[in-house]
């Protein structure tokens, strides 16, 4: 198109040259402007052609060839014209010339375009090359990075963790021991790495704990060592001081005719075995210090004691431990040795304020290395009936049983004794208790013997020391008092009477209408009948420490049979009562009758009320009194129910409400102030 225009323009120029210049110039300038405009308008078209050419260079070549051909042809034509027709050659040439010039112009244009194209191509090549180079660089970087990372990985892979040297818990053990927040089972079950981490975490925590513990223990140890050292020093310093005090006080002792210093020099005490000597000195000191009524004597054959050589004892201990394959004869001898006490023993007699006293002897068994209590006797200030089943309660060896909780004195506190007996083929210690006495734990404590118990220490006292003996003495005195009081009550009951107590008229009305028909104590009680009744009573009976008491009340042809079980440490533990009411061959117990259950609960659950006016020593009597009253109330209200008319032959009692509640509880509680009966208003 451009070419056409150019040609047009040239034609125009050619045409305009012979015409008048003034107009023609104007006209040609118009034309030029017009052509310029057109050219500007068609610049895009040029670009398009250019684009076409770039897209298809073959067109370009064709054009080039075509124009070359045109020029060649024009040249040949001009040559022909010049050669053959000289006359009008100029005209002919002038005719062809513009065409040739046009072609030359086109060629130039093509040349320019080709130059441009060439430059473009160069540029794009350059660009592509740059791009290529940068990508190449990137690739090299990445490759380098890969190599680096591979090196790192192999380094990590070869990393030697110190965790392998630490011994860890087994996995199951770990899951069992470690807390959830460390073991995290849901995360670690399937991930061995997490598991290992958790295990290590746990191990660290445990070891830190143990280290702390170790440190504390070490500190404690150092502290104790220092304390011991201090005490040793003080004791060493004390010795000369004591000596000087002793010499200084001798005149005073002589003046007061005290015998503190003479104790040491008394002839028989010198031959006491060490534990008994400990007790002897302590008891003497206690007596001196408290001025209390406590008699301490040494009994036994002094002559034998002199011969009783410590070496012999040690010899027999050694033999006892090595004589596992000895003959029967030898075994008997060993056993005899084992059960032989030291010839000397210490006898104590403790007297309480009411004049009742308790006597006991403490024996020491050198081979068993325990002390045992024998010959316990209570002596009361009042007269005992000559023939009485009550007597068995004071001759019982369980007089001092359970002086402190759980101290039954039926087993040895020295664990090595079991081994000694086993080597002689004897399984239990129990069978010898009758022979050697009761090895109570308190008996070991007051003689300065100490044993490690497998169970928790149960005695609520200092393990050893000066203030221990007073504890034991007080406990024995309290026991003496309550036993004496119990004896009084039992004697009264044996005569079918109630011992008078302070609670009379306060917790119970003064008059009773039922009679005591029968009273039995200890082995006389028909135990078989209780065994059926209650599992708890049965269990207590089987433990063998309890004393059973049975009583029979009778009221208007109805009989009440009650069995009271006294604990060995009565009245520290309240007694347990079981009752049966029988009338006309019908027997009722608490299991099937709500009234009886209620009476039993009154006695067994609300026993605290009985301590309001009396000491606990009178609990047995008070319990029986309450039982009697409840029984009477129960029978009377039953009789009232059974009769339609008001009854007149029953005792007049003030009763606030005859019965209450679903189980129609009878008014068992006596109120002192108005003197009336009411139902219990407080539960506990």
């Amino acid at each position: 198109m451009k070419r056409r225009k150019t040609i047009k323009g040239q034609q125009a120029n050619k045409e305009s040259s012979p015409a008048s210049p003034s107009v023609k110039i104007k006209k040609s300038s118009d034309e030029v402007i017009k052509a310029d405009n057109e050219a500007r308008e068609n610049k895009d078209d040029d670009e398009l052609i250019l684009q076409d050419l770039i897209d298809d260079p073959s067109v370009f070549i064709d054009k080039f060839n075509q124009h070359c051909e045109d020029i060649k042809r024009s040249m040949q034509t001009i040559k022909k014209v010049k050669l053959y027709s000289a006359e009008n050659s100029t005209r002919e040439v002038a005719k062809i010339k513009p065409q040739a010039l046009m072609s030359i112009l086109s060629l130039r244009e093509i040349n320019r375009i080709s130059q441009m194209l060439c430059k473009n191509a160069k540029d794009s090549t350059q660009e592509a090359k740059q791009k290529c180079e940068s990508v190449q660089l990137q690739l090299e970087n990445l490759l380098y990075e890969i190599v680096h990372l591979k090196e790192e990985i192999s380094k990590c892979g070869q990393f030697k963790s110190c965790g392998d040297d630490i011994t860890l818990l087994e996995v199951e053990e770990f899951y069992r021991v470690a807390p959830e927040n460390i073991s995290l089972p849901e995360r670690t079950r399937h991930d061995p790495h997490q598991l290992k981490l958790a295990q290590l975490q746990w191990e660290l925590q445990e070891r830190e704990k143990l280290a702390e513990k170790c440190r504390l223990a070490k500190e404690e140890k150092d502290r104790l060592i220092k304390r011991i050292e201090d005490k040793r020093k003080r004791i060493r310093n004390l010795n000369p001081l004591l000596d000087s005090v002793l010499t200084a006080t001798r005149p005073l002792q002589d003046y007061l005719s005290l015998s503190i210093s003479q104790v040491d020099s008394s002839s028989s005490a010198r031959y006491l075995p060490r534990p008994l000597y400990f007790l002897f000195v302590q008891a003497n000191a206690y007596q001196e210090a408290n001025d209390s009524d406590i008699g301490v004597t040494i009994t036994g054959d002094l002559h034998k004691a002199k011969q009783f050589d410590q070496n012999v004892v040690e010899e027999s201990i050694r033999r006892a431990s090595s004589s596992q394959s000895g003959q029967g004869n030898k075994k008997n001898l060993e056993l005899k040795n084992l059960l032989t006490p030291h010839p000397l023993s210490v006898s104590l007699r403790l007297k309480e304020s009411d004049g009742n006293s308790m006597a006991l002897s403490v024996y020491y068994y050198p081979i068993l290395n325990i002390c045992a209590v024998k010959g316990v006797k209570i002596e009361v200030s009042f007269k005992l009936p000559d023939v009485s089943s009550v007597r068995q309660t004071i001759e019982d060896s369980s007089l001092l049983s359970c002086l402190f909780p759980g101290d039954t004195g039926k087993d040895t506190p020295n664990a090595t004794n079991h081994q000694q007996l086993q080597s002689l083929g004897l399984p239990s210690f129990n069978q010898f208790v009758k022979e050697i006495g009761n090895p109570y734990i308190w008996a070991q404590s007051i003689t300065g013997l100490q044993f490690f118990s497998l169970e928790k220490e149960e005695l609520p006292m200092e393990p050893a020391g000066a203030d221990l003996l007073p504890n034991v003495v007080n406990a024995i005195l309290a026991r003496t008092k309550s036993k004496a009081s119990l004896l009084k009550q039992l004697i009264a009951l044996e005569n079918l009477q109630m011992f008078p107590t302070n609670s009379d008229g306060k917790l119970f009305p003064i008059h009773t209408y039922s009679q005591i028909k029968e009273f039995k104590v200890g082995t006389d009680v028909n135990i078989e009948s209780i065994k059926k009744m209650s599992a708890i009573l049965n269990k207590k009976l089987q433990s063998g420490n309890t004393t059973a008491v049975s009583i029979k009340f009778s009221y208007r042809r109805v009989k009440l049979y009650a069995v009271v079980l006294l604990e060995p440490d009565y009245p520290v533990h309240p007694p347990l009562t079981n009752i049966t009411i029988s009338s006309d061959q019908r027997e009722l117990t608490a299991n099937i009758n709500a009234d009886i259950k209620c009476i039993e609960a009154e006695i067994n659950v609300f026993y605290q009320e009985l301590l309001e006016y009396d000491s606990a020593d009178f609990m047995l009597t008070n319990i029986l009194k309450r039982l009697q009253v409840c029984f009477e109330i129960c029978i009377e209200s039953r009789l009232k129910e059974l009769r339609d008319k008001p009854v007149t032959d029953l005792p007049q009692r003030m009763i606030l409400q005859s019965c209450r509640g679903r189980d129609r509880v009878k008014p068992y509680k006596y109120l002192e102030n108005p003197g009336c009966f009411t139902t219990r208003s407080t539960a506990l």
């Binding site: 099937i592 067994n604 039953r638 339609d644 679903r662 189980d663 129609r664 539960a683």
Partner: protein, 293 residues
């Protein structure tokens, strides 16, 4: 203490999933018994020593567990039942019935007539009258609105009723769901009455022990009393079944019909055991009211 526990009263929660039991030591035991039945293990839910006196009656409203305890100041005992007007009727130890507005706690009315303490109260489902039974042997009908006594029956005066228990007290009553029949149980055994005419229709002489509590279920009156049994009795007075229980005597029986599944019967009495019956004809399991869990 466990040896002497006596469960006086039983009650279900409104949702039917909890069982409350009140005993003679003033403790209330709550059992989450639906779960417990599924596992046959007793799940002990909570315990509170709520009161110092025995808990004689328990009933539940939509929001409250109401305990009838011993009021130490006045010396009353309560047994109560809740009617729809949110008034709590209490039968008390002084022989009166008091109506209390539950929201305000004010006394709305009192009905005087009984000569001795009142054992139980039910509402007549038809006439909305209040029926009470007492230690004095009478069963009285009360008009709630006035409040005054409408009628009185005295079962102990009827010759055909056995007097084996001694005394004349009536400890339990129950009406059937239509309000036609009423069962009275007490020292005179079980007797069944027609409510409209207030006449004795049948007496159940097969039950030889005193009756302590009665409920109505599915055409039968189910009773417990001074023996080892739960007894099912038809309206005609025939005993259809006796099922052994672990306590004797039993003081309370309750049926839970709020559950979606089968109703559950439970009994309690002269021990710490509460017996649960899923099938009414044999004991499923027992709960223990004890603190030693």
């Amino acid at each position: 203490m466990d040896m002497y526990g006596v469960v006086y009263s039983l009650c279900y929660s409104p949702c039917g999933k909890l069982l409350a039991a009140g005993d003679n030591f003033g403790r209330i035991f709550i059992f989450q018994y639906v779960d417990a039945l599924a596992n046959y293990i007793c799940i002990f839910f909570c315990i509170g020593v709520v009161h110092s006196g025995p808990i004689y009656a328990l009933t539940s409203t939509s929001t409250y567990l109401v305990c009838g305890i011993l009021d130490r100041i006045v010396g009353y005992k309560w047994s109560e039942i809740l009617d729809k007007e949110n008034i709590l009727y209490c039968g008390c130890g002084d022989g009166r019935i008091y109506g209390y507005d539950l929201k305000s706690g004010h006394n709305k009315c009192s009905m005087v007539g009984h000569e001795d303490s009142i054992h139980s109260i039910v509402l007549d489902p038809q006439s909305k009258a209040c029926i009470s039974s007492s230690e004095d042997g009478s069963v009285r009908f009360w008009d709630n609105r006035k409040p005054s006594q409408i009628a009185i029956i005295e079962p102990y005066k009827h010759q055909q009723l056995s007097h084996h228990g001694g005394g004349k007290w009536i400890s339990a009553m129950a009406t059937d769901t239509d309000g036609n029949w009423m069962a009275c149980g007490g020292a005179t055994g079980l007797s069944i009455w027609h409510l409209q005419s207030r006449t004795l229709t049948s007496s159940c002489n097969d039950i030889t022990a005193c009756v302590r509590d009665v409920v109505f279920y599915d055409g039968n009156f189910i009773t417990v009393g001074d023996n080892h049994h739960v007894t099912h009795t038809t309206i005609n007075g025939e005993v259809t079944a006796t099922i052994p229980t672990s306590s004797s005597p039993n003081f309370a029986i309750q049926i839970n019909e709020n559950l979606n599944s089968k109703p559950v019967l439970c009994t309690a009495g002269n021990s710490i055991m509460i017996d649960i019956f899923i099938n009414f004809f044999y004991k499923t399991t027992s709960f223990q009211c004890t603190c030693s869990y």
